[in-house]
């Protein structure tokens, strides 16, 4: 291109502008497509939850619209005909406690492995990670002895004790990575500014590792809410079940699936969690893009 030719420059400028507009359109199109893909199952589940049996089980009907008037019958069955509220409460209890235990154990462990320069620190970090690679479907046999010894069978507390064995190793590994990215000098500065090692950890490292902590919270909570094998193996009493095991066992009776109630359960669990995570999302992203230290 000849930069001294005004028309040629003008043509190039217009081409660049067209390309920018094109890129925008493509971007929004893509985002819309993915949003639709992500939201579609929930929309379908929500519609299904309110359908009458005659509507749902007629193969001639369009599955995505109400062919007959919607009904609250199945939601009512879920809420008052099953122990769903209890399941939800149990899930919340297990989730919150597992998150708390996971953070309480993995934050100090990750900090020690990342910062204390112990000669066996690296090997230990890898060993911890290997623990995660053992599948729960092998472990639950031996763990049943542990649960029996602790007299926790048929109790949500069995899950509160067991889930951290899965979440802690992963979280240690994840947080270790975050702590390693924080320059040592920032922490040393805090000890010079008058804080103990613990004070520097709590006031400087924890806030700076916040994105990692959010990731751990999300991971530990979703795992507690969705884990199936341990919950099935160790909890049989209805009043102690969590959603992930309670809903399928109570709403699938023999070969009868209570589809509408199952869908209602799915939506009622997933949407609130999605909304809560959304509150964190902004901090999560700003944390990742936090500015560098040097000028």
């Amino acid at each position: 291109m000849d930069l001294s030719d005004t028309t040629e420059v003008e043509v190039a400028r217009r081409a660049a502008r067209r390309r920018r507009t094109g890129a925008r359109v493509a971007l929004y199109g893509l985002v819309l497509a993915f949003t639709g893909m992500a939201a579609f199952p929930f929309v379908w589940a929500t519609i299904t939850a309110f359908k009458r049996n005659q509507d749902l089980y007629n193969r001639a009907n369009n599955p995505f619209v109400f062919n007959l008037d919607p009904t609250l019958e199945h939601v009512d069955l879920l809420l008052s005909g099953t122990a769903f509220p209890t399941f939800a409460r149990n899930t919340l209890l297990v989730g919150v406690l597992v998150v708390a235990i996971t953070l309480a154990l993995s934050l100090p462990a990750a900090y020690s492995l990342a910062r204390l320069d112990m000669p066996w620190g690296g090997a230990m970090g890898i060993a911890i990670f290997f623990v995660y690679l053992i599948p729960p479907s092998l472990l639950f046999i031996s763990l049943s002895r542990v649960v029996a010894t602790l007299r926790l069978q048929d109790s949500v507390w069995a899950l509160v004790v067991l889930y951290p064995t899965i979440t802690v190793p992963v979280s240690v590994w994840l947080l270790m990575g975050f702590f390693k990215t924080i320059p040592r000098e920032i922490e040393e500065q805090a000890t010079i500014d008058g804080y103990s090692r613990f004070g520097a950890f709590a006031r400087i490292l924890v806030p700076l590792a916040f994105p990692g902590i959010v990731a751990v919270v999300v991971f530990a909570f979703t795992l507690s809410a969705s884990e199936f094998i341990y919950a099935l193996a160790f909890v049989a009493r209805t009043s102690e079940k969590t959603i992930s095991i309670g809903v399928p066992t109570e709403l699938v009776r023999g070969d009868v699936f209570f589809w509408q109630s199952l869908q209602a359960a799915t939506v009622m669990v997933a949407v609130p969690i999605a909304l809560v995570f959304n509150l964190f999302l902004e901090r999560f992203i700003t944390g990742f893009t936090m500015g560098a230290v040097k000028g």
């Binding site: 805090a190 010079i192 804080y195 230290v293 000028g295």
Partner: protein, 344 residues
């Protein structure tokens, strides 16, 4: 305010990296002491041991006359500015500055007032609500300094605080920093590998090399009377010319090496034949590069002629140059240490 002293301070890493080797130093009260040396000579390590961030392999650090052994950094009442500034990225400038005051348990109102005072003193009073990532390099440096001085520490430890600034900003920051230190009168240990910074700011300069102290003295002292050939060539730009003659090394500064007749060099002046290869015009001065003949081994030396000296020095010819007797330095060939004046 306090005196910082280190005794036989030594730090070895992993057994065979001798970062700091038996260093003895003492500041006077309120002094601005500069640690100067090439990269990797152990300046930062020495400073970190004074701060308590690094455990010495041997030796002792004393502040205010008391041994600091076993005391964590927070107990030493020091303020340190790291080379990277180490501002807390998630806190605003104000939160950064009050952070040490919080640790000291100061009331919020008082904290705020102190922070404002420190920020105004350094001219960043209008930036208190910014996060460090929205500051320029110079502003970051000021924020870090403000955080260091806000709690009136007993000692300032500054590790190359100006090295991230561009040349112009560095010059003004140098003035500000020095003026500020004069005003508060706090004992300061300042690390740099920039000799101009060291000469311009230091009350005394500690020249280090390979973990050892080579010389301690006022800027004039270390420049005019270098203790050994390392100091002689490390300071000055261009550095001191060294010419080997039998078992001594003869040294003279480029600015004392002048064409005969330009200045009155005195009766005992050394006159040598200087074969000129090249002349560089640098505006305020001329560098004349060539070899000396007849003094000792033929060595490449540089003469620096101020712009006020206008004699013509044609290249590829020999000229008579002189050095006043008082400007000659002598070093031992083996050890490199300064020796007695010799007759040439």
């Amino acid at each position: 305010m306090a005196i910082v002293e280190v005794r036989a301070l030594t730090k070895h890493f992993d057994g065979d990296v001798h970062a700091v080797e038996a260093v003895d130093l003492a500041t006077t009260d309120g002094e601005f002491l500069v640690l100067l040396g090439p990269s990797g000579c152990g300046k930062t390590t020495l400073l970190r041991m004074i701060a308590g961030l690094e455990e010495p392999t041997a030796g002792d650090v004393l502040i205010g006359g008391n041994s600091m052994a076993g005391l964590p950094p927070r107990a030493r009442r020091i303020a340190m500015v790291f080379q990277s500034y180490a501002l807390y990225p998630h806190k605003t400038v104000l939160q950064n500055i009050v952070f040490p005051l919080k640790a000291a348990g100061m009331a919020p109102d008082e904290r705020r007032r102190q922070a404002q005072w420190a920020a105004d003193l350094l001219g960043i009073g209008h930036l208190l609500d910014r996060k460090p990532r929205h500051l320029s390099g110079g502003e970051r440096q000021r924020a870090a300094l403000a955080r260091a001085l806000v709690r009136e520490p007993s000692v300032f430890l500054l590790d190359e605080p100006l090295s991230n600034l561009d040349a112009k900003l560095r010059a003004t920051a140098r003035d500000d920093l020095k003026l500020f230190q004069r005003r508060v009168g706090t004992t300061t240990v300042y690390v740099t590998h920039d000799q101009v910074e060291a000469m311009g700011m230091g009350d005394r300069i500690v020249v280090m090399d390979k973990g050892r102290v080579r010389q301690v003295g006022t800027p004039g002292d270390v420049y005019r009377h270098p203790a050994d050939t390392f100091v002689a060539t490390f300071l000055g730009s261009p550095p001191m010319n060294l010419v080997r003659r039998d078992d001594v090394v003869v040294g003279f500064r480029p600015e004392s090496f002048l064409p005969k007749g330009v200045a009155d060099a005195g009766a005992e002046a050394l006159t040598v034949s200087f074969h000129v290869h090249r002349v560089e015009y640098l505006g305020s001065e001329r560098h004349v590069i060539g070899t000396v003949e007849g003094l000792g081994e033929e060595t490449r030396v540089i003469a620096m002629l101020p712009a006020t000296v206008s004699v013509d020095v044609p290249v590829e010819r020999s000229h008579e140059f002189v050095v006043a007797a008082g400007d000659l330095r002598f070093f031992d060939v083996g050890s490199g240490l300064r020796t007695e004046r010799q007759r040439l």
